[in-house]
Amino acid sequence: MIRITDLTKRFEETVAVDHITLSVYPGEILGFLGPNGAGKSTTVKMLTGMLQPTSGTAEIAGFDVQRFPIEVKKRIGYIPESGAMYENLSPAEYLDFVASLYHIDPVVAESRYCELLDLFGILHAKDQRLAEFSKGMKQKVLISSALLHRPEVLFLDEPLNGLDANAAMVVKELLKKLAAQGKTIFFSSHILEVVERICTRIIIIDRGQQIIAGTARSIVEDTDSASLEDAFSRITGVRDTEELTSEFMAALERV
């Protein structure tokens, strides 16, 4: 599980994450939403041990991220938004390389990554260089690399980027099944439809602060909105879209 208490990150004068407190339980898929620059990626980077928090604590799978980063990293899988990989390697080589970083036996690693690549339908291409892959194929390798060591907790930052409809469906089903197995999933995305469909709970943050938490339905009801999209725009301070559009048009005419 994930337990965050008063997590804060400052970059000089800017407060990127401001005293966030939340918990995610095994079997849950938490949708982590927020407008651009809200602090989503910074939060994920602190939880994955890639960035030191300024204050507050984060505990993952029973281990404090700052005190036991290695123990935490052994138990988490992470799919970053950037998705950069060493493209001079083939998927098999890259996954072998990642497996080595987790100290997984090369033979065990091979059987695992072959299974994952097969699931995504790219096993036939496992010995081609990643540089020759399309964006979607690379994303499939990236997702495989995050699942290779069978993590207890998964952090996904826009994991469906570049995937075709079929692969996206596979990932969504996979996440549901992993949650059903008791894995904890932290799903950061801009795609409200996907979040609404697969996440058991949603947290919306803005300017580094947690604004609201609950199921999609409860958020819609609590904000007296027509849909999650509507609720999101209200909560994150965007004024009525129609009014805003009219102002835009007027401004354009003035210019």
Binding site: E12, N88, S100, L101, Q128, R129
Partner: protein, 546 residues
């Protein structure tokens, strides 16, 4: 007034300033990308200044030529020739950063920027780039020309102007050929060819000091003379070098003719380039770049372990380094740079005849013939470590931070992999060479063992001084060259002093030799422990920031 002038040429002054300001910011701004070990926000030395440092060193070496020979025309012609080659290589290798960027098309095509404005901004940026590199190369020679025979500032100014003129002409020539080449050769192939040219350029810079010192030693340069004759008007360096004798009042008419030829060629090329440095040209580059390279289907790349590095961080480091060496030309070339350098230094040692002497038998002779070879041996770890850290794939290094890998172990494993895959084979190759010349195979074994231990000590010191994760920092224009330069000087001086000490005083006694071997082995163990402690401490602060 400037604005009016620009408008007269159909250039939008506001857009021109905006475009120029942006490109100059990119070139001259200190590195804003935070490294893994520096404190966030700490600024680095601007890459353009690092480039200037690199070219400044070349200028320093060339100024020795100006000091050694009194013939103004000869020294200026040689100097301009080297500068033309060096600038051409730099511009070719970094064409898409220096001259025109395909990305420009994506950014500017939808905007109301005319090709003429774009051309003017690009030319101004190119002149700034050439201004920095030319001034850096010309600074020391210019000082020598100014003060060598009393105070003659006109000579100093003449050589600076001549270098700038030659640089402009060469750059225009590169633009002239580049687009034609791209039509027949794929940009990726071109990049590979240009990277080999860059290797030649580094070789020229690192090897030039040695070549000049050799020429000075043999009084080759001092005795050379060159005088302006009509047929020389066909030599491009002469079109610019003739400005120096002209400034001294020599050969006025011929020098003027040469200068006019140079100016004419620049004007002709300028007219041609005017039609090339346009947004349409950027679009062509973008299209050419996107065009897939015709190549054989990808061969299978199955993971196979490197002996000694079978598990964990060591396996990961070995896998990565081996593949980057295979496919990343920007890693492979600096590593391969050691081969021509070694051959050249070896030939220099052998040029005096008698072969490489056995240091146990003729220490003084051995030292005099192999000093440069040991320079190369000292360079190698520095080249390797520098090439190892900076990469175009640095963004992929997030994986080291998101996995439970021990980053300290990774850095140490990287050092070990480099030692086993590159340094040891290199030392063994030197051993084979020594076996040809040394009196006893025992001498070869002992000497090679000592060299291997010394090389490992250099690797350990380098990793202690500047620990970084493999391929984890971005490549920036000129940064690698200047970093290597400082490291090379320190390593080369240390290695030469040690070899002198060994050959002259220690190899004379078997006990001393044995004691040295043991001491070096102990020193390596101590260094390993110190390196492990320091690297682990530093690795704790490594953070990944895009």
């Amino acid at each position: 007034m400037i604005d009016r002038g620009l408008r007269r040429f159909g250039v939008d002054p506001v857009q021109f300033r905006a475009l120029l300001r942006t490109t100059l910011k990119v070139d001259f701004r200190a590195g804003m990308i935070k490294s893994t070990v520096r404190k966030p926000g700490k600024r680095r030395f601007p890459p353009m200044l690092q480039l200037a440092l690199f070219h400044g060193f070349l200028g320093l070496v060339l100024s020795a030529l100006v000091i050694a020979n009194a013939n103004l025309f000869l020294t200026a012609t040689l100097l301009i020739g080297v500068v033309m080659f060096s600038i051409a290589t730099s511009v070719l290798v970094e064409f898409q950063a220096v001259i025109i960027q395909p990305e420009d098309y994506e950014v500017l095509a939808p905007r109301p920027v005319s090709s003429r404005t774009y051309f003017a901004a690009r030319m101004a940026n190119l002149l700034a780039y050439l201004g920095v590199t030319s001034t850096a190369i010309g600074l020391f020679p210019s000082l020598v020309y100014t003060f060598r025979n009393g105070f003659q500032p006109q000579l100093g100014a003449a050589i600076l102007i001549a270098i700038l003129g030659a640089a402009v002409m060469v750059s225009l020539l590169v633009i002239f050929f580049y687009v034609h080449l791209m039509r027949v050769v794929h940009p990726k192939k071109l990049l590979r060819v240009f990277s080999y040219l860059q290797l030649l350029q580094s070789f020229l810079v690192y090897g030039s000091g040695m070549v000049f010192s050799m020429m000075l030693d043999h009084r080759i340069i001092q005795d050379l003379e060159l005088h302006m004759e009509a047929w020389m008007l066909v030599l491009p360096p002469v079109w610019f070098s003739s400005l120096v004798p002209l400034a001294a009042g020599e050969k006025i008419w011929l020098s003027l003719a040469a200068l006019l030829t140079g100016a004419g060629v620049i004007a002709l090329l300028g007219m041609y380039v005017h039609g090339r440095l346009s947004l349409e040209y950027a679009a062509l580059l973008a299209r050419q770049r996107e065009r897939s390279e015709r190549r054989a289907p990808s061969t299978a790349h199955r993971p196979s372990s490197v002996p000694l590095f079978g598990r964990g961080e060591a396996r990961a480091a070995a896998l990565l380094i081996r593949n980057q060496f295979k496919y990343d030309i920007k890693f492979r070339l600096p590593v391969l740079a050691i081969v021509p350098l070694t051959i050249l230094y070896l030939l220099t040692g052998l040029s005096s005849g008698g072969g490489l002497a056995d240091p146990f038998v003729s220490p003084a002779e051995h030292v005099s013939k192999t000093t440069l070879l040991y320079f190369a041996l000292a360079f190698f770890p520095v080249l390797l470590m520098a090439a190892m850290v900076r990469s175009d794939s640095w963004q992929a290094s997030w994986i080291f931070h998101a996995t439970p890998s021990d980053k300290g172990n990774l850095v140490l494993a990287m050092k070990d992999v480099l030692m086993v895959l590159f340094v040891l084979p290199y030392v063994l190759a030197l051993g084979i060479l020594f076996a040809v010349y040394f009196n006893s195979i025992q001498h070869v074994v002992v000497h090679v063992l000592i060299l291997a231990l010394l090389s490992h000590c250099i690797m350990q010191l380098l990793v202690m001084a500047n620990p970084h994760l493999p391929f984890s920092r971005p490549l920036r224009k000129g940064e690698r060259s200047s970093g290597i330069f400082v490291g090379i000087i320190i390593a080369a001086v240390g290695m030469t002093a040690t070899i002198n000490l060994l050959a002259r005083w220690i190899y004379t006694s078997p006990v001393g030799t044995g004691a040295t071997l043991v001491s070096l082995a102990v020193l390596t163990i101590i260094f390993e422990k110190l390196a492990a402690r320091r690297v682990r401490r530093k690795a704790a602060d490594f953070q990944f920031t895009m």
